[in-house]
Every structure is written in C-alpha cells, then in structure tokens.
C-alpha cells in the first residue's frame, strides 16, 4: 500500500532519490500528505485605503496572513504545493498548519543583516525628503502641532525647575520626545482611548487639558481631577479619554487589550492606543499583551517610544534584538519603525496605522525612534551614565522641535516674532498656573477615604473619625492648607 501511495507522489519519489539512505517507511511516516490550504491574503488588504498614498509603494502595506490548518482526518492525498513561482514545495501537517520542510539544517540567525529602516519624511534640517510619500498636513494643523510642541517643552522646563525649587516633589519631562507626543496626538481621534506610560503628557495637552490642570495635578490641589491621590505627572482624565497613569510599567498594556475588546463589542469607530518605552518592553506584560491583542483581533495601536535609555540602562543592555519593531512579527502583528523626531512622519504613520487598526480590527505596533534629552526624572542625573556632549547634541542639532520649526517657517506658516511671543506668553501662563496651584487648598480630609469603594464603608468611616479626633486634639500638628 505504501508503495502505491508513493508512486502517486512525485514529491516522495524526489525525496527518496535525494535521501536514499533513509528507509522508505521512515520517509512515509515523516510525511503526512493531507489536503492542504495555502496561506492566503485577506480580501480586505487588497482594497483601496481612501485614495491616500501610504508607504513607498502603492501596495497596501498591510496584508493579513494567517496560516490555516487543514482539517484533520482528510484522506491522504499525495500532493505537492505549487509555489508562486511554480516550483514544487513539500509540506508537513502539524497542529497550527502546514509547514514546508527542508532537508537542510539551517538556523535562523538572531538578526537579519540589515536593520529595519525607519520611515522619515523630513531630513535633519526640516526639508521634505525627495520621493517621500506622506499625508500632508495643512497650515492649521501644522501650526497647532508646533505650538503644542513648544508649550509642552516650556511647561516641562518650568515644572522641572519648580521641582528643583522644592515646590513639587517629583517631575518627568518629555524633552526630546515632543514630536512623538504631538505627532501621535494630532493623528488620533478624540474618541481613541489612550493608555499612557508616563511621558505622553503632550497628548493630554493636545486634547485640551489646561496648564492649570497640569499644575493642579502636580501640586495635588483640590481642583485636581485625580483629587491629589497620584504622584506628579500621573495624569488621568476620563473626559479626555486618557487613562490614569499607573507607576508599575506595562500594566497598561493588557488593559489596552481590554479597552480594545470593549470598543470592539460596541462596534465603535475608535481604538485603544497604548504607549510603552524601550525598557518596558522587557516586562512580561508587553509580550502577553501583544500576543493577546493578536489572538483576539483587538483594535489596539501599540506605540513604543524607543528613546535609547531606561534610566541608566542603554539599549544594548535591554535587549539583543533589532529594537522593538521586529518583535511585532513574532506575535503576528504588523509593525513599522518611524523616525520619532520627525513630527510629520509620526503623524502620517500614526494616522495610517490608526485607520488600519479600526478598519481591520487588528493590532499594530509602531516603534518611534527618539532620544530622551532630559534625565529619566527629577530623581536622576543622567550625566552619571552618559556624556554631556551626547545629550547636548540631541538637545540642539537633533531637536524635533527645531526641525519642525524650520519646516513650518519655510512654508511661511511661522515667523520669528510669533516664536518669541509664543515662548514668552506660554512661560507666563505656566508660571501663573504654578503660582495659582501653589496657593490653592489641598483636597479635603474626607477625600482621603472616598473612592476606595463606591461608598465609604464603616471601617473607613471609623478610621476617618479617628483621624479627625487626632486633628481636633492637636490642631497645630495638622497642615493648614488641608480643609477638614
């Protein structure tokens, strides 16, 4: 019987010829010729994406490839695959699909010869690159983007100084990453739910969070929407679809999958957007979340801000892969690497990715290459582990803000006078916000005990009473700016 089956199969004959030393029965058990299906492209991927050019070629950059298993128990039909170029390929059926086999033992190298290129449309001086394709932004959006980048930069500088003066306890700047912040913010819809890591305040700024609200959160005043419960820069605003920052890294990534799941159930034209830094991609949750998102076809956009440093850990000590972009394919997620300091490229990429995520209901990973110009936080002095020259170079000649300014200025959309005026007025506004927040009352004592549960339970009522008793007995020990 084996011989009869073997005769029908050219493939086996070929195989037998080339590996004559192996016995026929071994060959037969090794090869299970069941009916097969090829991997195929999803029909949606061949459609037109609203006429906008994407990437450097006209082919849609996203094709859904899922390897399909053949049905088990099909009669053994000795067939060979015909590959696209007409040559024969032989395959083996395993759970999970048909796998072509090869008699050559070849290890996949740990990395490919060339690194994945990053997409950029403006060169270092802000000139559009010849032959680049991107979604153009009009004057209004471009100017707004630039103004937001400057505002973010100014707010960061002054609040950092405020911490240095002892007025707030802690701060983290987004210095060097303004383009990632604002480029992304401008490309999303206000319905997209953002799950930040901690260096994405620019998105809140874009969405309308005021300077006063930023200051209120940092100072923990009674007008803080978070009621003074989180440390500075751990902003959160339901109205702006910005989930409260939680300090442990990557807890927001599986939550993003849950948010996307909820949006999917609702059929909303919105996606979840989750941010992660290069260091945080080492956390287990990053990998689990990407895997979940892929398996569940969850509409999440993962944006990795690869800024080169995780406090003092450089990339070479964080992972051995070619950055983060190559990890997408490991989970079955399309991914792209973009120059994170090119605001236009970031904007174009995020916009395209977001459209795909919502339409295809599948996750996408974006790695935005950038540099952390500031220290990790006010508790860090990065000159201890990197050269001041390196920092200076990224702060000046490779600044994303300067680069975009050159672009808008050259288009006639921005002038030197507007620049001076913007910086001066923003600085004044931030200082005023800080002064107001500094003088503002803190949240009242009762806010220490509310929101632990939906209603204050009896044990917490007792604990509140005990605190109030203590305050009544020793009023001089109790701070004066906390209302009772």
């Amino acid at each position: 019987m084996a011989a009869a089956l073997l005769r029908r199969s050219r493939a086996i004959t070929n195989l037998v010829r080339t590996t004559a030393t192996v016995s026929l029965s071994d060959q037969f058990t090794a090869l299970q010729f069941h009916r097969y299906r090829r991997y195929r492209r999803s029909p949606a991927a061949t459609g037109d994406f609203a006429g906008k050019p994407y990437g450097l070629c006209n082919e849609p950059p996203f094709a859904s490839r899922r390897f399909e298993s053949a049905a088990a128990g099909q009669p053994i039909v000795a067939e060979t695959d015909e590959d696209d170029d007409g040559s024969d390929r032989q395959g083996v059926e395993f759970p999970g699909g048909r796998v072509p086999f090869t008699p050559q033992m070849r290890f996949i190298p740990e990395s490919s010869n060339d690194r994945v290129p990053c997409y950029r449309v403006l060169d270092d001086d802000g000139y559009p690159i010849e032959g680049g394709l991107y979604e153009e932004v009009d004057k209004e959006i471009a100017v707004r983007m630039y103004r937001s980048m400057v505002t973010l930069q100014t707010m960061d500088t002054i609040l950092y100084e405020a911490q240095r003066q002892g007025r707030i306890s802690f701060y983290m700047t987004a210095g060097g990453e303004e383009a990632v912040n604002i480029g992304t913010a401008a490309a999303l819809s206000s319905d997209d739910i953002v799950l930040p890591q901690y260096r994405e305040a620019g998105i809140l700024l874009w969405r309308g969070y005021t300077l006063q609200e930023f200051a209120n959160q940092c100072f923990g005043t009674k007008n803080d929407p978070g009621k003074g419960r989180q440390m500075p820069i751990h902003y959160g605003s339901k109205d702006h679809n910005y989930i409260t920052v939680s300090s442990p890294l990557t807890t927001q990534l599986p939550q993003a999958v849950g948010v996307a799941y909820s949006l999917k159930m609702d059929g909303k034209n919105a996606c979840a957007v989750a941010f992660v830094g290069d260091g945080a991609t080492s956390e287990g949750d990053f990998h689990a979340a990407l895997n979940f998102a892929a398996v569940m076809d969850a509409p999440v956009l993962f944006v990795c801000r690869n800024n080169g440093w995780a406090i003092s850990t450089p990339l070479s000590e964080q992972f051995r892969s070619d950055g983060v972009v190559v990890k997408g394919q490991a989970y079955g997620i399309p991914s792209i690497r973009v120059d994170g300091n090119d605001a236009l490229a970031v904007h174009a990429t995020v916009h395209a990715a977001r459209e795909m995520v919502v339409r295809e209901q599948k996750p996408i990973l974006i790695e935005a290459m950038t540099y952390r110009v500031g220290h990790h936080s006010t508790s860090d002095d990065s000159t201890k582990y990197r050269s001041p020259d390196e920092i200076e170079q990224w702060r000046t000649s490779r600044s994303p803000v300067t680069r975009f300014r050159k672009f808008v200025e050259r288009n006639g959309w921005w002038s030197h006078d507007e620049e001076t005026e913007l910086r001066a007025s923003t600085r004044k506004q931030v200082l005023k916000a800080i002064q107001t927040a500094d003088k503002m009352e803190k949240p009242s004592l009762e806010d220490l005990f509310t929101d632990v549960y939906d209603q204050v339970p009896e044990n917490l009522q007792e604990q509140e009473k005990a605190v109030r008793d203590a305050v009544r007995r020793h009023p001089q020990e109790f701070p004066t700016d906390v209302p009772l």
Binding site: G236, P254, V452, Y453
Partner: protein, 398 residues
C-alpha cells in the same frame, strides 16, 4: 457604553437595565424570608442586618440544606457549580455588559464546568477564551471595566492568580482611587482555591490571606449552592471589584435552592446554627468540618453557635459582635495558614472591638505554615479536622 453586541446568540434582557448608580439590589422576593438587610438610601455596607433576620432553627448537616427554602417553595435542586452558573447566566441575561474571560471558559466550559454552555448561548466574544497569561487577562478585564463592561475573570485555580497580583492590587484595587473616582472597575475575580484532594502545594493555595490587605477590593467566600448563586449575583452587580473565593471540593454539593430570583449581600455573615455556649466562626469548606464537629458537640451537651462569615473583607462585625456578646467565647476555624491568615485578622478585629465581652482568649484553628503536601494522609492533617474542633471547644468551654 458596551450596549450593542455583535456576537451571535445574545438573548434579550428580560429585565430593564437598571441605573447602575442605584445600589440596592432590585428584587426583594416576598415569599422568601429577607436574607439581606433593608438598604436605606444612605448605603451602609457594613452595618449588616438590622432587622427581619430569619433564624435557622435546625442544625445544618454536612449536606447544607437551606431550611428557609424548604419551608417556602420546593425550588429546584442543583450542584454548587451549577448554582454558580445559574447566577452567572441570569446576570448575563439581565445585563449585556457582563462578560466572562479566562482560560478554557468558552467552548470547553471551564475546568470546573461553571461556564459550561455559556459560550454557545452568548457567543465567543462574551465568553472569551484567553491565552495563558493571568496578569494579562486580569489586566484586560480591568481595561474593559474602565470602558464600561462588567467582566468576570476566572482563574483556573486561585493559586495561578498570584501571577495577576500586580493587576489585582495596583490596578483593580487602586485605579478608582488614584483616578479621583473617574474610572470604576466593576470586575469579579473568581476561581477555585483551597486544599483539595492531593493536588499538590501550588494547586492548594488560599489566596484570601494574601489579598486581604489590598485596599479597594471586597472578598467573599461561598460555601453552599444557595450562597454561591446569591454571592455571584451580588458580586456582578457591585460597582467595586470583588474577589469570589470558591473551594475545589465544594463544587459538587447538592442543595435545593429557590426558583425565585434572589441576591445576597456581600457584606453579611450567615448564621448557620444558633447556639449559646461558644461562637464558632468559619467559612468555605471548614464550615462542613465545623458542622460535623457540631454534631459530636451537641451529643456531648454543648450548644455551639456556628457562623459562616462569608464576607472576608470587610468582616461582618455586627453579626459576629452580637454573637460574641451572647456566648463570650470565640473559636475561629479556617483553612488559611496560621501566619497572616483571615483568622489572624479576625482575631485582631474581635479583640479590638469586643474585648470586654470575651471570657477567654480567642482560639484560632488554622492550617500549619507548611506548603500543602501531596501525600493524602499528610494533606489531611494540614487542614483542621473535626476532632480538633471538638477538642478546642471542650477546652474553651470547660
């Protein structure tokens, strides 16, 4: 927000979707004795039962038969895991936002069959099979809850939820607070725990002791089909994250439960057997060891009062306090380990609040501080046995 479902097979809700800021459970059933306290508009979750508590007049044996239900209508008989499923199904019918996620909960029906048949009825999206990453699917539930769904997370075994500890403590428990009340997390985290029959140390965890300090969560433990269904429904309707502890060995308990709908209170303890001589506080599987010991004690002339505390966080100090004031002696029987268990916290709470009423120090019987061994005989002696309970009561009462 998640009002429209795209998956197939969603049955229409038979009840109006209530405004979920309304805290009182909506269905007081008149033929059933009041099992929960009357809730006033100023909700006080720990005050417990004020009035109208039906006394259970006969001793409950190891087969927990609820005399209340037997007294009114015949009801229907089912096993504990079916009661859980019934509660789950009723809530999923009632509110389209309720969904389940976990490993093998979908077409497999759950490893203890609690979700059997639900995926066929509600679709793959509402009864979601997840890959194996507990921290991840718990995080996913939290994200979904923040955007309007009401997810139920099933841990295949409570011990595996230790991998989800970060999400449960830092996010589930805290995000409502740290966001200033902007985001609510109405999740239920449930699964089987406790010492089973030779399941080994890692499958015999008692997580209530690890989770009890997490601010922001509530913990309940079910022990009978009746309270399993009632607590499941209450947990799903609660706006707070609730951890529902089930026990591996109790899933096949059979009981007759009412046909009418009922919801129990998450913060109330259950009076299993009223008595005069000693207050025995217990929960989950140890309730059955206590009731077995109670039979022996009654024969020896003692009259123990047995309370199933059910609510592990917060404790129902009202019921417990009333009992202590009556008997003046307390014995706690738990399955947690000696150090840092629920019994340890309960001892502290009772000492603090009712010290004047105690005639003797509180005795707490717990498991030893050892990983649960596999060998059957050794495993038997890590949990408290009825003989030890009898001896403790004899010593306590003199």
């Amino acid at each position: 927000m998640a009002a429209i479902l795209q998956s197939v097979g969603v049955t229409s809700a038979s009840f109006q979707l209530p405004d979920h800021s309304n805290k009182s459970p909506a269905f007081p059933v008149c033929s059933l004795p009041v099992i929960r306290s009357e809730k006033s508009s100023s909700f006080d979750p720990i005050r417990g039962i004020g009035k109208a508590r039906k006394a259970v007049t006969k001793a409950v044996t190891a087969q927990a038969e609820n005399s209340a239900s037997a007294a009114s209508k015949p009801g229907h008989e089912l096993l504990l895991f079916e009661a859980l499923r019934e509660g789950l199904e009723e809530e999923m019918d009632r509110d389209v936002r309720v969904c389940v996620m976990g490993e093998d909960v979908g077409h497999y029906g759950g490893s203890y069959k609690v979700t059997k048949g639900l995926a066929e009825k509600y679709g793959d999206l509402r009864v979601l099979d997840t890959p194996i990453a507990e921290n991840s699917f718990t995080g996913m539930a939290i994200g979904a809850a923040m955007t309007g769904l009401r997810p139920i997370v099933e841990g295949m075994n409570m011990g595996f939820l230790l991998l989800a500890f970060n999400q449960i403590s830092d996010n589930c428990g805290m995000l409502h607070y740290t966001s200033g009340g902007q985001f609510t997390i109405p999740t239920v985290i449930r699964g089987p725990g406790g010492v089973g029959r030779q399941l080994g140390a890692e499958h015999s965890q008692r997580l209530e002791s690890y989770f009890q300090s997490i601010p922001g969560i509530q913990m309940v433990a079910c022990s009978t089909p009746y309270n399993a269904k009632g607590l499941m429904k209450a947990a799903i309707r609660s706006e707070n994250p609730v951890v529902l502890f089930e026990h591996v060995l109790l899933y096949n308990l059979k009981e007759r439960i009412p046909d009418e709908e009922y919801v129990l209170s998450l913060e109330e303890a259950e009076m299993v057997r009223p008595g005069e001589h000693v207050t025995i506080l217990t929960y989950s599987r140890m309730r059955y060891h206590v009731m077995q010991a109670a039979k022996t004690l009654v024969n020896k002339g003692y009259d123990p009062e047995v309370i199933d505390i059910r609510s592990l966080k917060p404790f129902d100090l009202y019921t417990i306090g009333n009992s202590v004031k009556k008997t003046h002696k307390v014995l706690i029987v738990e399955e947690c380990m000696r150090t840092g268990g629920i019994g340890a916290s309960l001892t502290a709470a009772i000492n603090e609040n009712f010290n004047d009423y105690l005639d003797a120090p509180i005795v707490c019987l717990s498991s030893q501080d050892v990983p649960t061994p596999y060998a059957g005989t050794l495993e038997e002696w890590t949990v408290v046995q009825p003989a030890q309970i009898v001896a403790a009561v004899e010593q306590l009462c003199g």
